[in-house]
């Protein structure tokens, strides 16, 4: 009886999730009247605005990932090693972006960093890019921190640090050549997740007026019929690739761990 209900639940889920994907693919092929074609994709990929905004978002994602790693790995390490009493506080802060809507955070940015403030980041294009990057890092913080913290749990931070210190390693060496390689898989999953979040992000980029991929997609959606469906297929493929890479990284780690034993 339980098994029957399980199959029913699964079937409902499969239908619900498969239909929009099939629908989108089918719709994206309908641009030419009467036959299926890849015209919509050709149109989208050939659009210079697509190339510009996509490149912009990829660069933003990479910079966000680099910044996120530099911020989160030392912090999570330090909290585990030296300030375990602060852990609940830090964890609470990292979870805040899940509770405070992104639109509220970016509204605060616009007010806090406007041209007449002490830190007028929104005054220049570069400054706004920087602000947007910090915003993305905030959005990715819950995922990045949790991934790295889980990774740190599997290694003996204190012993490794003492061993490195007694061999004369400084903090940069410890973090860069000892901790980072040990939590690399965790860092990578955090990085790919960050990439998936940043690449299609709409709210922050739109309200800060930066030429990112998310606002471009929205604009295209308001003006075209078949191209948005093609974009959705492309975006879905990117998300899928990011998640696939996370799985791959995890599997590689399991493999090497097993060999070591």
């Amino acid at each position: 009886m339980t098994r029957v209900w399980s199959w029913v639940a699964l079937a409902v889920g499969v239908v619900y999730f498969a239909l929009p994907l099939i629908g989108t693919v089918e719709f994206s092929l309908r641009k030419r009247r009467g036959e299926y074609s890849l015209d919509a994709y050709r149109e989208v990929l050939g659009d210079p605005r697509f190339q510009e905004t996509f490149a912009y978002s990829v660069v933003m994602a990479l910079v966000t990932i680099a910044f996120g790693i530099l911020l989160v790995v030392p912090t999570a390490y330090w909290v585990r090693l030296k300030l375990p009493r602060l852990r609940p506080v830090v964890e609470f802060i990292t979870l805040l972006p899940l509770v405070i809507p992104a639109i509220v955070i970016v509204f605060g940015y616009i007010r806090l960093f406007n041209t007449s403030s002490i830190l007028p980041l929104t005054g220049s294009a570069r400054g706004t890019d920087l602000l947007l990057m910090f915003g993305y890092a905030t959005l990715a913080l819950p995922y990045m921190y949790r991934a790295v913290d889980t990774g740190l749990r599997t290694i003996d931070v204190a012993t490794l640090t003492e061993a490195a210190q007694s061999l004369g390693a400084g903090w940069v060496t410890i973090l860069g050549r000892l901790i980072l390689p040990n939590v690399l898989v965790a860092v990578l999953s955090g990085a790919f997740l960050t990439f998936a979040i940043v690449i299609g992000e709409f709210t922050m980029a739109a309200l800060l007026n930066r030429p990112a991929f998310g606002p471009y997609m929205q604009l295209l959606g308001a003006n075209k019929a078949y191209e948005p469906a093609a974009l959705a297929v492309i975006a879905f493929a990117i998300t899928w690739a990011c998640m696939g890479l996370i799985q791959l990284a995890t599997r590689l780690q399991r493999h090497t761990r097993a060999q070591r034993r």
Binding site: A9, T75, V90, F107, G108
Partner: protein, 296 residues
Amino acid sequence: MAEVSAAEGARSAARMRLPWHWIGIVPFIAFALLFLILPTLQIVVGAFRTPAGAFTLENIRGLFTPSIMASYWISIKISVASALLGCLIGFAMAAGITVGGLPAWVRGPLLTFSGVASNFAGVPLAFAFLATLGRVGLVTLLLRDWFGINIYAMGFNILSFWGLTIVYLFFQIPLMVLIITPALDGLKREWREAADILGASGFQYWRMVALPILFPSLLGTFALLFANAFGAVATAIALTGSSLSIVPIVLFAQIRGDVLGNPHLGYALAFGMIVVTAIANFAYIWLRARSERWLR
């Protein structure tokens, strides 16, 4: 918040006598203050200020107009409905792959797909559903041509309460599956066997053993899904333009062009969003503390 951590940092530093012990956390605290806490406080403070800077409750009172209240109400309804349905369907699917006897090969693909779908939100998700359930979408046309059912003639509209709820479920259900599967894995086989030996029916086992144990996780996920839907902007805007005035859309328009005609009313609107998600999360923390008392 900042005071607490600063005080704690100072205390533990004093205990360890070396002041640079807490320096390691300064970059993080500075980042959190500058780009998370201060911007939020800025909005909260702005909600209680007049344009001249004096304290006022006028902005908050300004929220209690029929149109703004209607925005909050439809937002809360969509968030509750999508979170509740997401929890129910996600739970059923997660239960299927953990304790429900589905073959083992279903599990991996389902979890991987959940990881993808829970991150497939925003603008592309809206496009996917417009291509499926829009006026000329695949499902709309198939229902019309094969079964003679014209859902739009029957009053369905993707730009509506139910339309948006169905779309949000696309990321709500997978999120539930991802979070609740580990919790379901934590249910020990012994508990089920013990309940069986004592003569409990399957229903009794779920009502008196499994669900109370899962209760905190279920509530926590519900609160998370609620906040997730309540703050979703991109999907709604790409889907509806501005024809459905849920709170995030009103706020978006307000930030873009001050449609309410009063910047400080905008802060109050954003403050209201924080209050709603905060209530959802504090309700979760409180209920969880209560349920954990029973678990001891």
